[in-house]
């Protein structure tokens, strides 16, 4: 028997949109997300180009719609184990990892995390801040259930603690909780596994990890976000001073045959946005963006770049900086580059340098692809043997891709692909 049901893998904006659309079409959706909350990369963004909409303000209602929808079953902190069968009649096995918290009891009050003695680097804040071993993935997490990190929790590692269990009024902490395996029947699958951030440490010429005032674009994004590690205050890691001159280096790891030869598609606009926001935070601040081609191709993007120049003291210099050094007296990063317009070599000092790092397919894509039995390209993006005629296709019938796991794309393109993939699923379910 075919069930009018679909599996969506990945709870970022693409997976969320695909799930809502499918559910609104009357299809039962299982949304599997490996993290403790849905939201994906968009949840990490402060604002979005070119409208400067607060990312969380437009994302949160969609997350909540997902959580409340009668046709959507959220499976967060879960992973796909296996997919068997064919289009129209798949069976999927999914592991719901132990949170060590009873989901139906936790009310998300946060008193446990306040008292937990163990501090851990916070990945959600791109490593800039700390969280506890019992934590909520981010303040607006959906579900708002806490989770215990088994790698760091003292009790789970045989040490004396048990503080969270004692403090929890809802009696939600359960150190004995085990992983749970579910088997579901679905007609089609949408993969929306999104992207990861390329590790820029091997690009030693730019000094990230060595020069304190060199950050990645995602670190800077968390810094300007009000819910981020600095409460939205812009400050230099070396001395907590407010910066006055920022530099952005584009294509760090992208369009580079030593690293990723493709263009990551969103960084030109992302850097422009961050420069605009930085100026809004500190009105005296100016930014210089070092770029190769200013790829402002979407609706309203050229106007956005023009506004950055006219109103937000953003200067664009076409150059591929060769290296970044540090002025040891004031910890200012110094960018060495060739000014191609005037054909001169220059060294210019800034208060902070932000690297627009390449974006790469999610690390988890490899194992998911294996379980789904679909092909990936050399970079790890979903390969599409069906070509242009079916931009959502994968090498397995009934399994579709959408969003950044297919190819670099921004939020609007990702939601378009997500909604589009929903129609593909509806076609499969209508004919099965």
């Amino acid at each position: 028997m075919t069930r009018k049901a679909a599996l969506v893998i990945g709870g970022g904006i693409a997976g969320i949109q695909a799930s809502i659309d499918l559910a609104n079409m009357g299809i039962q959706v299982y949304l599997v997300e490996k993290n403790p909350s849905i939201g994906g990369r968009m949840a990490q963004l402060d604002k979005t180009f070119p409208t400067n909409d607060c990312a969380m303000c437009i994302l949160a209602p969609k997350m909540i719609e997902c959580a409340n929808h009668e046709n959507i079953r959220l499976l967060t902190y879960s992973e796909l184990d296996e997919l068997t069968g064919d289009a129209g009649r798949f069976k999927a096995k999914i592991t719901k990892k132990a949170r060590f918290i009873e989901e139906d009891k936790c009310v998300g009050c946060g008193e446990c995390a306040e008292k937990c003695p163990t501090k851990v680097n916070d990945d959600f804040n791109a490593g800039l801040g700390k969280r506890k071993a019992i934590y909520k993935f981010f303040p607006q997490a959906v579900p708002s259930t806490y989770v215990i990190d088994p790698d760091y929790c003292r009790t789970l590692n045989g040490k004396k603690c048990g503080v969270c269990e004692k403090i929890c009024k809802a009696k939600a902490v359960n150190y004995e909780q085990k992983d749970e395996v579910l088997t579901i029947e679905i007609g089609a699958v949408i993969l929306a596994s999104g992207f990861d951030l390329y590790n820029v440490a091997p690009l030693t010429e730019y000094g990230w990890g060595k020069i304190k005032n060199v950050l990645t674009a995602m670190q800077f994004e968390r810094m300007i976000c009000a819910s981020g590690p600095t409460g939205g205050h812009l400050k230099r890691p070396s001395d907590d001073k407010e910066p006055e001159r920022l530099a952005f280096i584009q294509c760090v790891g992208s369009r580079d045959i030593r690293h990723k030869r493709y263009c990551s598609a969103v960084c030109c606009m992302h850097a422009t946005k961050e420069a605009i926001l930085a100026h809004e935070h500190c009105p005296g601040l100016s930014s210089t963006i070092f770029y190769m081609d200013m790829r402002a191709v979407g609706k309203g993007f050229q106007e956005y770049v023009q506004r950055a120049k006219d109103q937000y003291a953003v200067e664009y210099i076409r150059a591929r900086p060769g290296r970044v050094t540090e002025n040891e007296e004031n910890q200012n990063p110094v960018i060495h580059y060739e000014d191609t317009v005037n054909r001169e070599f220059r060294a210019e000092e800034f208060d902070m340098v932000i690297l627009s790092q390449a974006l790469v397919p999610a690390e988890s894509n490899r194992s998911i692809a294996e379980k789904l039995n679909i092909g990936l390209d050399e970079f790890g993006f979903v390969s599409n043997p069906q070509g242009m005629a079916n931009p959502f296709g994968t090498s397995r019938a009934g399994v579709f891709g959408c969003g950044f796991c297919q190819s670099p794309m921004d939020v609007p393109d990702s939601v378009v692909r997500a909604s589009a993939a929903a129609s593909k699923v509806a076609e499969v379910l209508a004919s099965a």
């Binding site: 009357g26 009050c109 263009c263 609706k299 993007f301 050229q302 939601v415 589009a420 993939a421 129609s423």
Partner: protein, 562 residues
């Protein structure tokens, strides 16, 4: 029946309870008029809190409920549904926000926050007494979709909807399907003939039992609303009426012809990329030296936007020329090469490896084309990296121009009450998250009608718009929240402010006969289209418009109690 209000005040853990003295507010609420029951909850939204509401509605015979907690944005639906479960009309519920409106913004002033919480709760109780039961409005949806424009976007939308079992009326103003893509020889990045993509779509949609194709047809009128549109077409100077539940606008765009630029009108061998494709097809004899100039008519004062894929179109034609004639010298004069993503960057790299020259020009020192009679023979351009002018001999010059909005956009905008942006393209409901929707329900958008869009994206948007159209058709009915606006025709002065201001096109003119028997026009709100934003009611000079659930009496009761 007397009003018996139950008031439930949430601690929200420490979010509210850590700042506002909740027990004090609970005791205070007990003393207010019409209050029959009060209670504080650690979390009103937890199953404990919700079941307590249901239990107390029954035990204390409550006929109004106030929850003072977080935000209606996330929790109103939950509490309304909970009231309904206990047999209480869900519109007899009032939400008071003690978190965003109080505790979170007064974290350092506990006593004042408690005072304000009492004010807010008192206001909610004053309002809830005046609320009246309401019913949701439900409208049936016709399972048919009108698709305007038979290019690649419209064809993609038509086929998927038809395959999902919906009826489609596909109208095309030209005498053939295929749109702009039909005029293009080969498509990037596969370089296959466009017919490989188009012909299967055209054939299947012409044969599909669920699709009616109307060629050389024009849309002349649209009436109605989501679920029940009546559209009028004119075809062969006859008019035809169709009933549909949803509409997709996929009317495409056209290539800019750059009159007056770069010798376009003067020289025969200066042409646009599309003209080149139509003129030479695949026989490129005599084209040994070709210069392309990018961003002609784009990224400038009069037309600020970037054409998104024109760079790739130029690269495609350069690659095809070079493949046919490896000795050809081809230079692309450009400002930035927009090869976003994976496939296009590789396509660009291939062109570089084939020996196609890319020369960056400065928009303040644009290229200059010279020639004799009507034949251009030289392009002179300032070469930024060399720091001097260079001259290139040419057999032809191709001007890379962007798409410009379709000429019918303004007219369609008027007929359908859908917005057009400053750039002349249709304006979507939200640039980031609702790219294929209009603000009005039931009307959707795909492809170059919205903005220049490459083929893969056109297909994607066609499918995406189809999904949006399929949703109400799959459900078969649209349910509208009861809190919508209503016009009192006896007070309407027919000034038209509300008709203009409504962002959803929900207000229209209607004939009305007053008590003396005189007839005239008055504004009328279609509740199915109304979103209850209240713009019309607050801007009505005659106080003729009421937003249900936010009537003047209800609002004033809140104000008067402060």
């Amino acid at each position: 029946m007397s009003v018996r209000t139950g008031v439930f005040i949430c601690h929200c853990g420490t979010n509210i309870g850590g700042i506002v003295n909740v027990p004090e507010v609970v005791e205070y609420a007990r003393t207010l008029p019409n209050v029959a029951f009060t209670e504080g909850n650690l979390y009103t939204c937890s199953e404990d809190g919700l079941s307590s509401i249901r239990k107390n509605i029954k035990e204390h015979d409550l006929n109004r409920v106030v929850v003072a907690s977080c935000t209606p944005r996330t929790h109103e639906i939950l509490f309304r549904q909970n009231c309904e479960l206990a047999g209480l009309n869900k519109y007899l519920f009032e939400f008071v926000n003690l978190r965003e409106h109080c505790s979170w913004v007064h974290m350092d002033a506990h006593d004042d926050a408690t005072l304000k919480a009492k004010d807010l709760v008192r206001m909610g109780i004053a309002k809830v007494s005046l609320l009246t039961p309401q019913e949701d409005l439900s409208t049936d949806v016709i399972r048919a979709c009108l698709i305007i424009g038979g290019g690649i976007s419209g064809l993609s939308a038509s086929l998927t909807l038809a395959n999902q079992g919906y009826h489609v009326a596909l109208i095309e103003k030209n005498d053939r399907l295929g749109g702009l893509l039909k005029d293009i020889n080969r498509v990037f990045p596969s370089n296959e003939p466009s017919s490989h993509l188009l012909d299967p779509l055209i054939n299947s949609s012409s044969k599909h039992q669920n699709i009616d194709v109307y060629l050389e047809a024009e849309l002349t009128d649209v009436k109605g609303f989501i679920g029940d549109f009546t559209v009028t077409l004119s075809q062969d100077s006859k008019t035809k009426e169709l009933k549909v539940g949803t509409i997709i606008v996929s009317t495409g765009a056209q290539e800019l012809k750059p009159a007056g630029s770069f010798g376009y009108d003067r020289f025969d061998n200066v042409m646009t990329q599309l003209e080149f494709e139509q003129r030479f097809k695949s026989d490129f004899d005599g084209l040994n030296r070709v210069v392309m100039i990018n961003c002609v008519g784009a990224r400038m004062e009069e037309r600020k936007y970037c054409g998104r894929f024109c760079c790739i179109t130029g690269i495609k034609n350069a690659v095809l020329l070079k493949e046919a004639n490896p000795g050809a010298e081809i230079s692309i004069l450009q400002r930035d090469i927009m090869a976003c993503g994976k496939v296009f960057e590789d396509y660009y790299r291939t062109a570089l490896e084939m020996g196609i020259r890319f020369i960056r020009y400065n928009v303040d020192r644009p290229p200059d084309i010279t020639g004799s009679d009507n034949v251009a023979d030289k392009v002179r351009v300032y070469h930024e990296l060399m720091g001097r002018d260079i001259e290139i001999d040419v057999d032809a010059v191709l001007l890379t121009t962007p798409l410009i909005p379709g000429e019918d956009n303004q007219q369609l905008s008027r007929i359908m009450k859908i917005p057009v942006g400053n750039d002349g393209y249709f304006l979507e409901a939200h640039q980031k998250l609702r790219p294929v929707e209009f603000p009005s329900d039931g009307i959707f958008l795909a492809g170059c009608a919205r903005y220049p869009t490459d083929i893969s994206e056109c297909i994607s948007q066609g499918y995406a718009a189809a999904t949006k159209a399929a949703i109400p058709m799959a459900r078969g009915l649209v349910i509208t929240d009861a809190f919508t606006c209503e016009v009192d025709p006896s007070r309407c002065s027919a000034c038209g402010r509300c008709v203009e201001i409504c962002p959803f096109g929900a207000i229209d003119w209607a004939d009305w006969r007053d008590m003396k028997g005189e007839t005239g026009s008055v504004a009328m709100v279609n509740p199915t289209e109304c979103k209850g934003c209240g713009l019309c009611s607050s801007s009505c000079l005659s106080s003729a418009i009421t937003l249900k659930g936010f009537t003047d009496e209800e609002i004033l009761a809140m104000v008067n109690t402060v």
